[in-house]
Symmetry: none
DNA sequence: AATGAATGAGTTTTCATTCAT
DNA sequence: AATGAATGAAAACTCATTCAT
């Protein structure tokens, strides 16, 4: 039994290996579309199955239950944000530059997929306590990467050494989140990415040494 | 018939005048407690009635339907925030000071009523589109007052005249919201009000001229 | 204790004496209007009270319960039909003539009060079994008078002596009822009374000796 | 895809094709029994499901809602009356004979299914306006066939050419309906079919040339 | 006599999940 | 692996009636 099979068992048995199969992603994508177009509370499993072109029962071969679909949607999509941010952090850039790139890339990813933006900013937040706790666990990975940038900025003397890192991160994330949500609630009628530089400037000025 | 009674009739018939009756507030307060303790989706009308010490049917003498209860909860409670902010704005203080007082008072109000904090930060966000739109209309009044402070700060030359007011407001509100939500999700295990000065400092530095 | 007080006790205590008071008829008339305009299932006691210009509770000073209102409506209104028919029967006329006058007078009474026509032909029939049984008891008095005409017609040799009186009466009543109901369902858009002579002719021909 | 399957899709999607499945008729029959035995207002969906031997939810795989069950009951059962009448009309008989057969067959069908007689004569009439309008639409087909007999009778010189066809039909239907309802309200304690010849004689005499 | 605020019982429908095929 | 018919639990709202004033 190797490292992988250990994780397979740990993470929920034989379902994990199915993440590679085409129908897994098919269902995830169907869920995003159905939730975005019908709203969280009108996104029945049967609708997702229909959109994915599979039978209702088939869903349960790939996901434990409906909650599992929703969390997986967030996990899979958030993975792209994490990868992108990891790539930015790995580059040899100053912390403020990294922060700026993060904001820009975060905005770009959501501006490029309005269905996803609706789902993450509005619909998924209607889910119950339990699901939101699990979603927050997924989000935590992303927030940790943000913290890395902040720590580096302080170490490099570019960010205010007296600021509370947790609060700073809450400001950065809260501001981005509010900006994006407002954009989504206004039906994406203006260009989100264009706002990135001004958001950067406001945030970086607040944090600078 | 004076001006007020005219408006009472104009604004929606029989139910409006009942806002003054004791059972109206009794039910609102019961709703906050039941939602906070049971979660949005487990806050049945019968539970709220029981907590309020009235019969199920009595609820419908004071509220059109369940949705009306939820919106009224937000309206009534948000009213306190708005009054407080109006009072702060009316004082002869600098914009940064007003901003600081606003943050402090916002934190204080929620720290002083953890049930309400749970309801506004977590539970009420699980409501459907329609209810959230109505809640946002109520919130808008509060955001407009925030804008007044920002405008005054710019006019007085205390805030950066080149910043976008809407973005600045989204930063302020987003940061406060994220800070409070994190505090609620951590079961209020630290002192929210103590964080206010640091939050102020971060935000004001970002906006200063 | 005289004959009247006997009936008072027998028929339901002190409510009977209230039939003479103005509010009794006021409520009966309100019920007819409310039922005709809102439909049987939308004729709530509170609506009837409002239409009658009394408080909900007042209804219960004059009627035992809602069912009692409905039966009383039928009773009071049917009384007019019975009186009219009694008057016709008392006259010195042939059975076919009496039958013709009955049909004409029945049509006239309903054509002159379309609210009442809607209530008796459509709405009151939506009432439950129990109420309809009681309504039928009231109706029976009217049907008995019809039978008197039929018996006289047979005795006088004007009606077919071999016909079953009960069936003949069911034909007469069924035909009138169906004719009137069709007229009501067509929104009274043609003149009901004008149809009376043809209805008479059809029915009398069927019954003639 | 033949003509029929085209119409199936056109006429209302998935549910129409289910009319052929055994559970559809099972539920219809259960509804008749439950309504006859419990009364219209005590015929809960759960009772019908139990009687049909299916789960409550299964009902909704075959019917849009409760109203749809009730209308379908009338439609399916009335279909038998219509077919029978069509068969009678298609035969090479005189109009009076056809009329007689119609009355006889109508009485026989209801005398042979007292549950159905209770449902159509008493219980279904308690339904609300909307349902009754839909029921009347179904009934109209039957009444049109009656008219055909009347028209033929007049053309053949067997029925009075001066009579109003609509009134004659109202007499025929009203008489049959009243006769059957009286029989049902008397708990079927006498033989309905035995009455048919006398009803025929009365009606035909009224209409004859 | 009159009021009207308060009561609380009762039912349709949805939809996540299962399991025989 | 895939299907989809069947399941059954769960909750908002109405309105006839009461009774303290």
């Amino acid at each position: 039994m190797n490292c992988h099979s250990y994780f397979r068992i740990f993470l929920g048995g034989d379902i994990v290996v199915k993440k590679d199969k085409p129908k897994y992603k098919q269902i995830i994508d169907a869920a995003v579309i159905v939730i975005a177009e019908n709203g969280y509370h009108q996104a029945q499993v049967s609708k997702i199955a229909k959109q994915a072109g599979v039978a209702d029962g088939t869903i349960y071969l790939y996901f434990k239950n409906k909650e599992d679909i929703l969390i997986s949607v967030f996990q899979e999509k958030m993975g792209v944000f994490v990868s992108k941010l990891e790539e930015i952090i790995s580059r040899d850039l100053s912390a403020p530059t990294k922060m700026g790139l993060m904001i820009e890339s975060h905005f770009e990813l959501l501006a490029g997929d309005t269905h996803l933006a609706i789902v993450t900013q509005l619909e998924l937040r209607q889910s119950n306590h339990e699901i939101r706790l699990k979603i927050n666990n997924v989000l935590r990975e992303y927030l940790k990467l943000m913290d890395e940038i902040l720590v580096k900025g302080i170490e490099d003397g570019e960010f205010d050494r007296t600021m509370d890192i947790r609060l700073a991160r809450q400001m950065v994330f809260g501001t981005m989140d509010e900006t994006i949500t407002t954009w989504v609630m206004n039906d994406h009628k203006y260009d989100l990415v264009e706002l990135a530089p001004q958001v950067q400037r406001l945030l970086l000025k607040g944090m600078q040494a």
